[in-house]
Symmetry: C2
Subunit: 233 residues, 2 copies
DNA sequence: CCAAAAGTGTTCGTACTACACCCATGC
DNA sequence: GCATGGGTGTAGTACGAACACTTTTGG
């Protein structure tokens, strides 16, 4: 954006996304953070797992490119999408200079189940990843850090759940992300006071215990953790 | 970073920086947030004020480009430098598709005084800016929001000050950034407990009151607000 | 002594924690 | 009834806000 150099040099601009969803861990049975990866089918890093993404499109906003690529490679519709960071080390890619604008997304459990899984798309537990292509391991680690810090002060947990949810479900989200148990009684009060949710008149019957009330996220309540650039997706 | 498209399309990648320093406001006399802008000398937006920056260099890390451009245009050496956001709207620049990786920096008051100021570089009070080139007004607003939110939980305020400082000086930084007065007594306790500073044995004499003790920032103390990607500059 | 800012003590209210206890359902 | 989780009450603790008060300098 300086005028002295009239033409900028060639740097390839990529857009990738770290997609998070919750799944029960096959061993522990507890809900944990999972993410889908795609297998690379050409060099560099042919055959290695990598974050879904692609080249930036001159006709599209970076946000739109992230959302589109996410749809195209995994068929997922994210309930939350936010820019994470722009990675610009010189030696990130052996094929040349690539700068990656990375996004992170949250999808609901039911939505995540719909994701096409196959030879070249597979879900992994976020803390049991293989060696990924490029610097993608470090990127996922950073995205996990952002998820874990942001869930404590911003209203994003509901993005893992459906339209309505019980407080136990919401608490499970926090427990999965923060990796520690939370007191149900205290969580209830805190959630009702500051998590931007409202009670509905419905309850869930069928469990062999008192039927829990359903809650709904209220987007009108001010979010103390919302940034001025929030996409409100 | 997808392999289906072999060659990415041409998008110009720029790097700009929002530089913050504290100066006394000429009217109120209170310390306030200021930033240097550079006047554009060619189209688009010829003659308008803009953030210092330039095109990304294929041989340099984005961080390095930000630091170098900052030095070249203002002669300033930042005591804090962090990536802010990557702006990628399609119509940001009338000259074509430009994606800007924007950084924000803090410089010390003595350092800021050294900055070359002239026909094409001038300092402005952060909340009294003229109409800037491109979307730079919105970018500065976002950077200000980040500064104001981050100063509350991370240890960055000392980056506005010299090697040693009194608690009154540190408090002035917080008051300037947060735009509200703070209780000196409570600030002292909070600062000594959680702001990562240590007492020195020196005091400042010369004022017509009790000589205040000097403190020093201690980088070894864990910063609760530090990100895993922190540049520790 | 006085003014001014440094620095200490104390009270109050709020908010989080731990945990006891009651409620409503399926079996 | 009994097991199970939903939901309420409450005491203990930590921390920030407000503000009175003491200390140490220059004039």
């Amino acid at each position: 954006m300086n005028a002295t150099t009239l033409r900028p040099p060639a740097i390839d601009l990529a857009v990738s996304t770290v997609i998070f969803a919750l799944r029960r861990h096959p061993e522990s049975g507890l809900p944990t953070v999972w993410l889908p990866l795609v297998r690379r089918v050409s060099d560099p890093f042919d055959g290695r797992w990598a974050l879904p993404g692609g080249w930036a499109d001159p006709a599209e906003t970076l946000d739109d490119t992230a959302a589109r690529k996410l749809r195209e490679t995994t068929r997922l519709e994210p309930s939350y999408l936010e820019q994470l960071y722009c990675f610009g080390e010189v030696d990130r890619s052996p094929s040349g200079r690539v700068v990656s604008v990375v996004y992170w997304a949250l999808v609901r459990a039911d939505e995540a189940a719909r994701a096409l899984e196959g030879e070249n798309v597979r879900w992994f537990a976020a803390d049991e990843l293989p060696d990924l292509a490029f610097d993608h391991n470090a990127i996922v680690d950073y995205a996990l850090w952002r998820l874990r810090t942001k869930v404590e002060y911003a209203r994003i947990a509901h993005a893992f759940l459906g339209e309505t949810f019980t407080l136990a479900q919401l608490r499970e989200v926090y427990e999965a992300v923060l990796q520690r148990p939370l007191d149900p009684a205290n969580f209830r009060r805190q959630a009702e006071a500051t998590r931007g949710i409202v009670r509905t008149d419905e309850v869930v019957t069928g469990g062999r215990h008192r039927p829990p009330r359903l809650y709904r996220y209220d987007p009108d309540l001010a979010d103390p953790g919302a940034s001025p650039l929030a996409t409100t997706a």
